[in-house]
């Protein structure tokens, strides 16, 4: 039986072409010519071509298109994509009808291309000395980017909304830990919710989301839970435990944080710079038009002393609206309406301009934030995404934060969005519909815009006397090293006013059947107190502070279940099913539906009802 590598090797061997004889001769001649030139004048070797070798316009074009060949998903799906777009448009749920007639833009504009190349070179030179990057960044750079594969097409050949170049931030599932070997679990909080919106958009479209797009903690954290507000301090913790629905040998432990809700009346004035992507790819009903409507909704939440400015970026970046008091609604709405999509994407120039404006608007006590709205084509001019992240991190330290709103599907670069928002101390949200805009920009605006704590890290030490094994559900992209917990230089997630964070551990109590056999020769260290599951520690920094504060709490073995935990468990199981996890045995979507229905509670805004509908949809799709 051969494995996949052998198959690959065989495929390469059989497809291996002989080198083109003419090309071979030309390359050898080139080498010898350069060799001779080098001997003649060693101080001035013939420069190797670092710029694209443009053998005339046609060749340059071809080379450029060739450059795209590694994007497997993009290429494999195209024939269907161009065709499928027409079929899918009528079923898009939201967005004004007047834009449905627009065709995907096919623009051939050579000048933009040249400009972009120039910019790329300029950007490298400009950013030659990056600021010291927080350690978080290297982690993000290591995150597995799962490019879409041709398999997606096989799943649903008829419903392919757009050529798909989405890249999702994901990591392998957290593995089971044996308490006696690895008692400590450390992670950074995550209040992003983009993954849930992506899952929803996929299911609504009649297809399962890519597994890499499912981040369970973001699904769980999408929902508001009924946790007690803190009596003093920035946080209240809420612990609970229940029998795991899909495994009789384990328990689900919930660790939840509830951020304080400062008095909204007393909030400081807000400077908002909308940085809006108006590149050609935004020219779709669920992108720019939806974005305009979303920002219009948000304007209603601002006050007279708040200021708004707009920068648009496409082939070139430009200020569309100078800093304007939020009370001048007509002026702001007029500027929004004038935005039109077209051209390439020069994100970095836009970002610089947006930050410059934010600096200009900044006054003592204000909160400044750049709100980047894009479909993810945050691309042209970025030779190196890390440089951009460094830049954002530097601006974050100077007080201007960045939040990212994602629109549309197809080339949403979820991984970049996440990385940008994390480095900018902001939140990445994915807006697929007007109701979602309502949730993010109206209902939860305060939390999005006003941080109450930054670098929030959680560490749990489990007690080997009571817990044999444990597994953190989700937070794969947020894992921290144990020693990072006490290191204030290590960046972590941030929490806004009123935000909640929920984390679930699946634990196996001592005495129950474990998945990993105990070691025969390990030292017995199970001498912890028998009434504690573990010890919970939370570190966070108050806004503007460099030193962190610590909250500690023992986790009792006698925690009771509650309705909020049951609902979170249903969502978590739902996410695991979507990820194709094998841990759940026979537990299925219908089981998730029944738990979620029983624990739905008040559900004022209908979020939970919507989740139940999605679970039922997934159940039908899976049959």
């Amino acid at each position: 039986m051969s494995d996949e590598f052998d198959d690959l090797k065989r495929a390469f061997d059989s497809a291996m072409p002989a080198p083109d004889a003419a090309k071979r001769a030309a390359n050898l001649a080139l080498a010898q010519e350069n060799f001779a030139a080098l001997q003649g004048s060693p101080s001035a070797p013939r420069p190797i071509s670092d710029a694209p070798k443009m053998g005339g316009f046609g060749k340059g074009l071809r080379t450029m298109f060739d450059a795209l060949s590694s994007k497997a998903g993009l290429t494999a799906t195209t024939a269907l994509a161009a065709f499928g777009l027409v079929m899918v448009l009528p079923v898009l749920q939201y967005g004004p009808p007047d834009v449905f007639t627009q065709e995907p833009a096919v623009m051939i504009e050579a000048p933009i291309m040249e400009q972009a190349e120039d910019f790329a070179v300029g950007a490298i030179a400009q950013d030659a000395v990056p600021a010291p990057a927080p350690r978080m960044m290297s982690k993000q750079a290591n995150r597995t980017r799962v490019a879409p594969t041709a398999g997606l097409v096989a799943d649903a050949p008829m419903i392919m909304p757009e050529a798909n170049t989405e890249a999702f931030a994901s990591a392998p599932e957290n593995s089971l830990k044996v308490t006696s070997e690895t008692p400590v679990s450390t992670f950074s909080v995550d209040v992003d919710t983009a993954s849930y919106a992506i899952v929803r958009a996929s299911l609504m479209n009649g297809q399962f989301p890519q597994k890499a797009a499912v981040r369970i903690e973001e699904m769980v954290n999408y929902f508001p839970y009924d946790y007690a507000a803190p009596e003093s301090g920035a946080f209240a913790t809420s612990l609970a435990m229940m029998q795991t629905p899909w495994n009789e040998n384990t328990q689900l432990l919930r660790i939840a944080l509830q951020g304080e809700m400062p008095e909204i009346e007393a909030r400081p004035p807000l400077n908002l710079v909308f940085l809006i992507d108006t590149s050609g790819s935004m020219n779709q009903p669920n992108k720019l038009p939806l974005l305009k409507q979303s920002l219009r909704l948000m304007l209603g939440q601002l006050r007279a002393q708040d200021q708004v400015a707009i920068v648009a970026y496409a082939g070139s970046a430009g200020q569309v609206l100078e800093p304007t008091a939020a009370s001048e609604r007509d002026v702001i709405l007029g500027a929004l309406d004038r935005l039109a999509a077209g051209g390439g994407t020069n994100g970095q120039a836009g970002l610089r301009q947006a930050y410059a404006l934010a600096d200009q608007m900044q006054e003592e006590g204000d909160v400044s934030r750049v709100l980047l709205a894009t479909d993810g084509d945050f691309n042209v001019g970025l030779s190196n995404p890390d440089t951009l992240k460094d830049y954002i991190a530097e601006k974050r330290d100077s007080g201007t934060f960045l939040s990212v709103l994602g629109f549309g599907r197809g080339n949403l670069d979820d991984a970049t969005m996440q990385a940008l928002a994390q480095n900018g101390n902001g939140q990445a949200s994915y807006i697929d519909s007007l109701p979602e805009a309502q949730k993010v920009l109206v209902d939860q605006l305060t939390g999005v815009l006003f941080p109450i704590a930054s670098d929030v890290k959680v560490q749990v030490e489990f007690n080997p006397a009571t817990v044999a094994e444990y597994r953190l559900i989700g937070y794969e992209t947020r894992a921290l090293a144990r020693e990072d917990f006490n290191n204030d230089k290590v960046d972590a997630g941030d929490i806004g006013a009123g935000h909640q964070v929920t984390a679930l551990y699946e634990i196996t109590p001592v005495g129950n059947e474990t998945q990993v056999d105990a070691l025969r020769y390990s030292a017995e260290t199970s001498d912890g107190p028998n009434d504690e599951l573990g010890f919970f520690k939370l570190r966070y920094k108050a806004p503007g502070q460099a030193e962190s504060q610590l909250i500690e709490k023992a986790i009792s073995t006698t925690l009771a279940p509650d309705r909020e935990l049951e609902f979170a468990a249903a969502i978590s199981g739902f996410g695991e099913l979507l990820r194709g996890s094998e841990r759940l045995g026979v537990w299925n979507y219908s089981d998730a539906v029944s738990i979620a229905t029983a624990s739905r509670g008040e559900d004022t805004f209908g979020y939970r009802a919507e989740a139940i509908r999605l679970m039922r949809l997934a159940a039908s799709l899976s049959e």
Binding site: A11, P19, D66, A163, N379
Partner: protein, 178 residues
């Protein structure tokens, strides 16, 4: 006499300015180099262009060759680095092409892809992260893990670990296809 001289000696001579040694060395190495380029890039056209990059730069680089390692190891390292440069430029250019209309780009791309008629395995390497991609190209080129490690500047164990990652990746791709 000269035809029996080892590649590494030839390279030392070439580094010292011996044009004939350089010519022989290149003539000998070109086909194998092309094979590696093909495995690194996954398409003939890209492999030819990568070879061109390498040939153009080789004299300058060879001047710094000190015989600290086998010539073949050294040459492969040069190739892997050149492939990185090329991919990086490709990304920049691909990004620059956004404004040209994704639709047109994709259409052209699909025509080309079909002409190449490469099966899923070939596309699969496109989804691998760079380090895994380099590793798999070298191992496919009949290098053992130690030699591949020497080219990449990592330990043998790292190469073995990467290969197990590659297999996992390929398996996942295969499974998602079924």
């Amino acid at each position: 006499m000269r035809m029996n001289t080892g590649d590494t000696e030839l390279a030392m001579a070439a580094a010292g300015g011996d044009a004939k040694a350089f010519a022989i060395l290149l003539e000998r190495s070109y086909d194998r180099l092309f094979g590696l380029c093909f495995r690194l890039m996954g398409s003939r056209a890209e492999a030819e262009d990568l070879c061109q990059d390498i040939c153009a730069a080789l004299p300058t680089k060879l001047a710094r060759f000190e015989g600290g390692s086998q010539f073949s190891t050294w040459l492969y390292r040069v190739a892997v680095n050149a492939a990185h440069d090329r991919r990086r430029r490709a990304v920049t250019r691909a990004k620059a092409s956004q404004g040209w209309g994704d639709w047109e780009v994709n259409r052209t791309e699909v025509n080309k892809e079909q002409a190449d008629a490469q099966d899923w395995l070939m596309q699969a390497i496109g989804t691998l992260p760079d380090d895994l991609r380099d590793t798999v190209a070298l191992v496919m080129d009949e290098m053992n893990h130690r030699e591949a490690g020497a080219v990449l500047g990592v330990s043998e164990g790292t190469v073995s670990w990467r290969m197990s990652e590659v297999k996992k990746h390929l398996k996942a791709i295969k499974e998602s296809e079924q």
